[in-house]
């Protein structure tokens, strides 16, 4: 039996050690990475920076958006970078943080980290196995921002909990917290409380992921056998945690009454940490309580969902490589018949005046067809005759979007000039506003009975109002 324990422990440790590798390689290969952003990385400890990034991401996973934006990560890394090297600029900090975030997302392989390790089988034989894991993963938040969240393996690694059950880990931190509080070592107690909070966030993420798996495909999930026991355990655990959080808060408040100096500061900090942890637990408790209802609703919803073919093919080996081995003409014919597979759907829109000017009226007529259209030697393509470049059009669109509910053409032009837009962009913006004149569209346009005051454009100014 002891041999079994030893084998399991060693297998588990060997597997978990794999998660360290990406952090070590951050520092090992920093000489190669420096060139990418032309910043000298020597003054910085990239492993520590990786921890700062992970710490911020885990904390923000407990926020309403459930992840950290790049700006939040950058705010967290800057103090360390500036302290490590007083010559570090904002731009350097941005580049270095980007390099670390990209490394933790495994941008080089563009997929999960795959680290091999040796595994001892029951018969004593050894085989190579793969530990496949993510550290950071980018998502889109409900507001459309890019956010990063951390994988379970990454959180385990960060909290040095090495794959122990979260519930057991929380109990262990609780014991440590009580030990420090009993001896009035408030700073150590605060650190234990902060780790406790991260475990709470991780626990909430774990349960949330289990519940969101229901939404993806309920028929692939063993609800009775796998999800229900998790939910029951979570409910019991939550009840226990809520009681413990309440006791911690009461204890800290009691001590705060007679504390002063550093002790008071640490205790106040701990109170905030426990209140925050309690808020997470309350939120999770509510998710857990409604899990069965969610399961029933998903079962009904997905019963009617069209059964899409689920087989997933390999984009590289099943599509790209065969496509590159085919004659281009064969491929092109097939793509032309199946464009819907490659391009997003298009909603035909009414002609846009400014686009029409750009695409047709201001273009030279097309040249006569060449004798052999497929000839490789047909020469270089003619430069585009479009009146406005894509950059002009985009800048004009952005300018119009930034205008308030009511504005004038003069204001548009003045704002565009102060923002440094080209004459062409301003011309395009002016054409766009004229298109709204007298139309019953999203924006109404009327003459202002005042001349336009602009260095290039003449005529009456327009009053423009966005319709609600």
């Amino acid at each position: 039996m002891q041999d079994l324990y030893r084998r399991e422990t060693l297998n588990s440790r060997a597997r978990n050690l794999a998660v360290f590798r990406p952090f070590f390689s951050l520092e090992t290969f920093k000489g190669q990475r420096g060139g990418k952003g032309a910043v000298d990385l020597a003054p910085y400890d990239l492993q520590r920076l990786g921890m700062v990034v992970l710490d911020k991401v885990i904390l923000e996973m407990g926020s309403p958006v459930q992840g950290a934006t790049y700006a939040q990560i950058l705010d967290a890394t800057k103090p360390m970078l500036f302290a490590a090297n007083p010559a570090c600029t904002d731009h350097d900090a941005d580049v270095i943080t980007t390099l670390v975030v990209e490394h933790l997302c495994n941008e080089q392989q563009r997929t999960v980290f795959v680290i091999t390790y040796q595994f001892e089988k029951e018969d004593g034989g050894i085989e190579w196995r793969e530990n496949r894991f993510k550290i950071l993963d980018p998502h889109e938040s409900v507001s459309g921002d890019m956010i990063y969240d951390a994988s379970t393996q990454a959180v385990n690694f960060f909290l040095a909990s090495l794959d122990t059950d979260l519930e057991a880990e929380q109990a262990a931190r609780d014991a440590a917290y009580k030990h420090y509080m009993k001896r009035e070592r408030f700073e150590d107690a605060a650190i234990a409380a902060e780790e406790q909070r991260k475990l709470t966030i991780q626990y909430r993420t774990k349960i949330r992921r289990a519940l969101s798996a229901l939404e993806r495909n309920i028929f692939e999930i063993d609800y009775i056998g796998a999800v229900m026991p998790t939910i029951i355990t979570a409910r019991e655990h939550m009840e226990e945690r809520l009681q413990i959080d309440g006791e911690h808060i009461a204890d800290v408040e009691h001590r705060l009454d007679s504390a002063s100096g550093d002790a008071s500061r640490h205790l106040a900090n701990m109170r905030e940490i426990f209140r925050n942890a309690k808020a997470h637990n309350v939120g999770l408790f509510s998710d857990v309580m409604s899990a069965h209802e969610k399961f029933r609703a998903e079962q009904t919803r997905q019963k009617f969902r069209p059964q899409s073919p689920q087989a997933i093919f390999d984009p590289h080996n099943d599509a790209l490589i065969p496509a590159l081995k085919l004659p281009g003409g064969v491929l092109l014919d097939w793509i032309a018949e199946n464009t819907f597979l490659f391009l997003p759907l298009r909603v035909a829109k009414p002609p846009d005046f400014a686009d029409l000017v750009n695409e047709h009226l201001l273009q030279q007529p097309p040249p006569p067809p060449l004798a052999e259209d497929t000839d490789l030697e047909r020469g270089e393509p003619q430069p585009s005759h479009a009146r406005f470049t894509e950059a002009d059009i985009e800048a004009a669109a952005t300018l119009l979007q930034t205008m308030p509910m009511e504005f004038s053409l003069g204001t548009v032009l003045a704002s565009g000039r102060s923002a440094g837009l080209s004459e062409n962009s301003l011309h395009h913006a002016a054409l766009k506003t004229m298109q709204w004149f007298g139309e019953d569209g999203d924006v109404g346009a009327w003459p202002l009975d005042a001349p336009l005051r602009d260095s290039s454009f003449t005529g009456d100014d327009l009053n423009l109002v966005r319709r609600p």
């Binding site: 941005d94 081995k325 004659p327 997003p344 909603v347 270089e380």
Partner: protein, 246 residues
């Protein structure tokens, strides 16, 4: 079908929102409410699915509360894009180049089956135009060393990897459009404009962008790769015959 006229009305509103990936439930309260109804009211769900089916669309609900419903186009739909819409006036070489780059981008973003099968909400790796071009060249150069080729001057008979290797990496001038960098940039910007890619400023290259593929692209690529794989099997045999016949 057992749904009220009000449910049909609201279902059609939902389908109209789903037609643009740029519509986000967080920004449009009505859309968020319609998605909630779609998930909880059987009549509403049935009506929306039927309306979509009539338009030859399929509604996919994967993380809809964040990204909105994903409308997948089926053949013959009014909303089917055409190559003509996309890049109608280009030469054969450019059209073939763009066709191959569809595959290059998909394989770059989802380098293997596991990456493509991931939860749709994961955005996958960052996409930089320069790195995509580099990936394209590297892949084609590897194939050039492995696959025997024959001399031909006709663009439509040139093998895909030779075709891409025949394109310059950069244009000689800013206005030149027949080069890999321009074409890749054009494609990712087109995906961004359609709302299937996100983008952010690139810290490592001032003035440039990095792009991320939204779940809409993942869903599209899943279908594309499956169909392409089936086509490639038979096309490869036909192409061999075509080349033998000259």
């Amino acid at each position: 079908m057992n749904c009220s006229s009000e449910e049909i009305y609201r279902a059609s509103l939902l389908v109209s929102y789903a037609l643009s990936p740029k519509n986000r439930p967080s920004a449009i309260a009505e859309y968020a409410e319609l998605i909630r109804e779609y998930r909880t009211i059987a009549g509403m769900r049935e009506a929306a699915s039927k309306i979509a089916a009539g338009l030859k669309l399929e509604l996919i609900d994967e993380g809809a509360e964040v990204h909105g419903l994903i409308a997948r186009v089926n053949p013959g739909s009014l909303f089917t894009p055409t190559l003509q819409d996309f890049r109608g006036s280009r030469s054969v070489e450019e059209r073939i180049g763009y066709g191959l780059l569809f595959f290059v981008i998909a394989a770059y973003v989802y380098p293997n089956r596991e990456a493509l099968a991931e939860d749709a909400s994961s955005l996958g790796p960052r996409i930089r135009v320069s790195e995509l071009v580099e990936f394209s060249r590297r892949t084609c150069e590897t194939l050039r060393d492995l696959v025997p080729t024959e001399d031909t001057t006709q663009a439509h008979l040139v093998l895909g990897f030779e075709h891409l290797l025949g394109l310059r990496e950069m244009g000689k001038t800013d206005r030149e459009q027949k080069n890999l960098t321009y074409m890749v940039r054009f494609l990712v910007q087109d995906f961004y404009a359609a709302g299937v890619f996100l983008r952010e400023g690139d810290s490592l290259k001032s003035g440039d962008y990095i792009y991320f593929a939204r779940p809409h692209y993942r869903i599209q690529v899943r279908t594309m790769v499956r169909e392409a794989s089936a086509f490639m099997q038979s096309a490869f045999e036909r192409a061999q015959e075509m080349r033998r016949a000259g």
